[in-house]
């Protein structure tokens, strides 16, 4: 055997290369490596399966939009609005992410105790109930109040709360002021709920209510948009102001005097019915020239507007405030209510009309409904924050001031955020899509309606229906009520009462939209509701409206007092409905609040360029913003659409809170809000300096 020469090696190598190229090796390797580079090992690959579509109700705010959820293999993957729903279709970005909430990082699945930093420690349900019962007994002993804050009154569970509170010596059932505040002022006088006959309204005069952004049932407004003339009186160019037929930029806090000035013109020019003598006297103090500097509007503009309201009637004037800015002061609402009275809008078609109520479905005595503002400060020994979201901001200090020393705060929310973050105990109710939900009419609705949706997902094992919590609390505290019965049974009882009343129509959800149907019995009615149907009352209640209360003399004097020149700026706080409430935003909402410029982020404070220039502040720089209630850092955003002499800041949501869960410092206008005794925070003023 001769040794291998270089030549042999080269030829052998050549043969090897040729052979390799003729074998599958290189080609398979290339193909496989190509597939290998396409692997996404760290990424979730969702499981495929059968698709189903089910109707649900949105729980992010009281609008209760009807939604359709598409599930694959039992997992919800897509949510859309039920466009043809008889109560109004549509959905907002918050509703479209409803299916994320059960999976949200802030979701609580077991009862927990929260420490001062909001860090949760798991507790047994029995221990939580015992603690709450102890506080309830202590309250009874010491004559302190047991307060339930219900941000979505009118539900079956609301009734259970009121039954319990009626059995407690000093039980208070409170609801925060909301977008129906003007109507509430008038309903107080009417002795029953009122709604707006928007279908026949010609002009809607909104004192800062976000009527085109998320107000009432959005679907109803969208359907009426082309027929309705919207005049927006707003301190900033809100989304509604930008889309309205007319936007008058007013000074913050001037809603009350402006409403009176409009009434003054109407009465003075004989365009409206002549009011009672005491109102005439009041109106005399608010001629347009007097209000001009208060509202920052020329007197001529006020006069022109007043004339157009009369000429293009029926006109409805509404207040109610912004979900992030909080309610208007009661006296401002009274002034707006009086404007409605002067316009003759109360009780007429296209105006404010009476709405029926749901038939009674129980006999147990109920604690009366009170406004949260009326609850005395420092008097509450046990506070229960009911699950259910108004979609509106409520600063903690509005509640905190009501608490007595050693008060216990129990929240029934499934999310560790908003007010719940300040609770001592959380007994989480089922997350959205995990329980039966009711759809009740919104504040603007002029017809009563009712709908129920069935759970789409099984509730997690340790979530507790509020009804069950109440039953256990009553048992532990030795109270007889609320009567037993699960949440679903209570809803069924309600449905049975509606069916028994023989009022209204039943609309059933079918493949080709909704159609009217007469269910054979209460069971069939319940089934139709669960399958996406709804009940709509047919009769509008007829009710005479007495005169609402006049704005208080103190408030009137305050409006007329000349404001001294100040260096700090009024803060306009705002948020979309559902953005600053007790339901956390889905992380996907970063698409609107972080990844695009569509919505201002809580991390910025807006000033008119001229206001910024006067103060030597530079666009885009970090600012230190200080109010009497707090301080925070925010980036300056010069916005030429914001009128000079004020600052504007979002109250929520804060998508960054999702990235830095542990110790995220509070951002946004709510951290700055100075809450007045009437629980408004619209008077907040801020000083801005470069950080």
């Amino acid at each position: 055997m001769t040794p291998l020469t270089r030549r042999d090696v080269l030829f052998g190598l050549g043969g090897g290369i040729a052979g390799t190229l003729l074998s599958p090796l290189p080609w398979t390797v290339l193909d496989d490596v190509a597939i290998w580079t396409q692997h996404r090992r760290a990424l979730p690959i969702p499981r495929d399966g059968e698709t189903s579509v089910r109707p649900v109700a949105c729980t992010s705010c009281p609008a209760g939009c009807s939604l359709r959820v598409r599930s694959v293999a039992g997992r919800p993957v897509f949510v859309s609005g039920e466009a043809s729903h008889p109560l109004g279709g549509g959905a907002c970005p918050f509703g479209l992410t409803l299916h994320h909430l059960a999976h949200h990082p802030l979701r609580l699945t077991t009862p927990v105790r929260l420490d001062a930093h909001g860090t949760p420690t798991r507790v047994a349900l029995g221990a939580a109930v015992a603690a709450a019962a102890g506080a309830l007994r202590a309250a009874s002993r010491s004559g302190r109040a047991v307060l339930v804050l219900d941000q979505r009154p009118g539900r079956a569970v609301s009734r259970a709360f009121r039954e319990l509170l009626a059995a407690v010596p000093y039980g208070l059932y409170a609801t925060p002021d909301g977008e129906g505040a003007t109507l509430q002022v008038l309903s107080g006088a009417a002795g029953g709920p009122l709604g707006i006959d928007l279908e026949h309204t010609r002009t809607l005069l909104s004192f800062g209510a976000p009527v085109l952004e998320g107000w009432g049932r959005p679907g109803r407004m969208l359907a009426l948009r082309d027929r309705l003339r919207i005049v927006q009186l707003d301190a900033w160019r809100s989304p509604t102001a930008g889309l309205a037929d007319e936007w008058l930029a007013i000074r913050p806090g001037s809603e009350g005097p402006l409403a009176l000035a409009l009434a003054n013109v109407l009465v003075g020019e004989g365009l409206a019915r002549t009011p009672a003598a005491e109102l005439r006297d009041l109106l005399a103090s608010f001629p347009p020239e007097r209000v001009e500097p208060l509202a920052g509007l020329p007197a001529s503009a006020i006069e022109t507007l007043a004339r157009s309201l009369a000429a293009q009637g029926p006109t409805v004037a509404i207040g109610g405030g912004d979900p992030g800015g909080g309610p208007l002061p009661l006296d401002a609402e009274r002034a707006i209510a009086w404007l409605d009275v002067v316009l003759g809008s109360v009780g007429r078609a296209g105006g404010l009309v009476a709405r029926g109520s749901l038939p009674d479905d129980g006999t147990a005595p109920l604690a009366p409904e009170t406004s949260l503002a009326e609850v005395p400060d420092g008097d509450v020994r046990l506070l229960v924050i009911a699950a259910g979201d108004s979609g509106r901001a409520l600063p903690w200090s509005a509640l905190g001031r009501k608490l007595a020393p050693q008060a216990l705060v129990v929240s029934l929310s499934p999310f560790r955020c908003g007010l719940t973050a300040r609770a001592d105990l959380v007994v989480p109710s089922p997350a959205p899509l995990e329980g039966h939900e009711e759809i009740l009419p919104t504040a603007d609705a002029c017809v009563m309606s009712y709908a129920v949706t069935a759970p789409l997902l099984p509730p997690c094992a340790e979530s507790v229906e509020p009804t069950r919590f109440l039953a256990e609390l009553a048992r532990a505290a030795g109270l007889g009520v609320p009567s037993d019965g699960t949440h679903a049974e209570r809803l069924q009882r309600r449905a049975a009462a509606i069916f028994a009343s023989h009022r209204g129509r039943v609309l059933v959800r079918g493949d080709e939209g909704f159609r009217e149907e007469a269910p054979a019995d209460a069971g069939a009615f319940w089934q139709a509701l669960l399958e996406g149907g709804c009940w709509v009352d047919d009769s509008r209640a007829a009710r005479a409206v007495a005169a609402p209360a006049l704005p208080s003399p103190a408030a009137v004097a305050g409006w007329l007092r000349a404001e001294p020149a100040r260096s700090d700026l009024p803060l306009v706080s705002f948020a979309a409905r559902g953005a600053a409430g007790g339901t956390p935003p889905s992380p996907i909402l970063t698409k609107l609040y972080q990844e695009t410029a569509l919505r201002p982020s809580v991390a910025t404070i807006a000033l008119h360029p001229q206001t910024a220039r006067e103060r030597g502040l530079v666009d885009g720089r970090e600012m230190r913003v200080v109010s009497a209630a707090g301080r925070l850092d925010a980036r300056l955003r010069c916005d030429p659409t914001l009128p000079p002499g004020r600052a504007a800041m979002a109250a929520g949501p804060d998508p960054a809170a999702l990235h830095e869960q542990d110790a995220a410092p509070a951002r946004g206008a709510l951290a700055l809000g100075v809450v007045e005794p009437d629980l408004t925070w619209r008077g907040t003023r801020v000083a801005i300096t470069e950080a």
């Binding site: 030549r7 052998g12 043969g15 090897g16 003729l22 398979t28 496989d32 490596v33 059968e50």
Partner: protein, 181 residues
């Protein structure tokens, strides 16, 4: 070129061919057993009389339901049918505890590929066998071989075959997004 060089070349060629055709596949593919034996022939025989689509159904929306869930098996196999060890294990390990059988799927495609069975079976009238082979007549399951690099089964249909068929028949999409997503 002399004879010696030729021999060297031939040796190299032969070695590489052997490596490429014989050794390489041995290294590349890892065999794995199916969790249970399954006799397709028995199920599709005249006595039982199932068609492929009785178990591997196409749903109303045209999507393929894939390998049937355990519930489908349980309709017949709630109790052991016969006395084989596999039958016993099926009932004890899967049917009674309600566990899904972790079958290894020969035709699992990457998740960015979409294969609409309705368009091929109902639209183009292709027989199941034309892609899946004569699975339905086998008494035992073929050994499952996983490609170490790609992570998919050996012999998985690749895009070349999709494309050539779509091109030849003039039917079916040729654009990427016709099938990829």
């Amino acid at each position: 070129m002399n004879r010696r060089s030729l021999a060297a070349f031939a040796t190299g060629l032969a070695g590489a061919l052997a490596a490429g055709w014989l050794a390489f596949p041995r290294w590349l593919y890892v065999s794995a057993d199916q969790p249970l034996p399954f006799n397709h022939r028995l199920h599709t025989s005249d006595a039982t009389g199932f068609a492929c689509t009785d178990c591997h159904a196409i749903r109303a929306d045209g999507e393929f339901a894939g390998i049937p869930s355990m519930a489908t098996c349980a309709t017949c196999h709630a109790e052991p049918v016969g006395t084989t060890a596999g039958e016993k294990r099926l009932v004890e390990e899967f049917v009674r505890p309600g566990r899904e059988i972790p079958w290894r799927v020969y035709s699992r495609q990457p998740d960015n590929v979409r294969f609409p069975h309705a368009a091929h079976v109902q639209g183009a009238q292709l027989a199941c066998e034309s892609c899946h082979g004569a699975h339905g007549t086998r008494e035992t399951l073929v050994a499952f071989q996983e490609d170490r690099l790609s992570g998919y089964a050996r012999g998985l249909i690749t895009m070349d075959r999709c494309e050539s068929c779509h091109r030849e028949t003039g039917r079916g999409p040729l654009a990427c997004i016709g099938c990829h997503r």
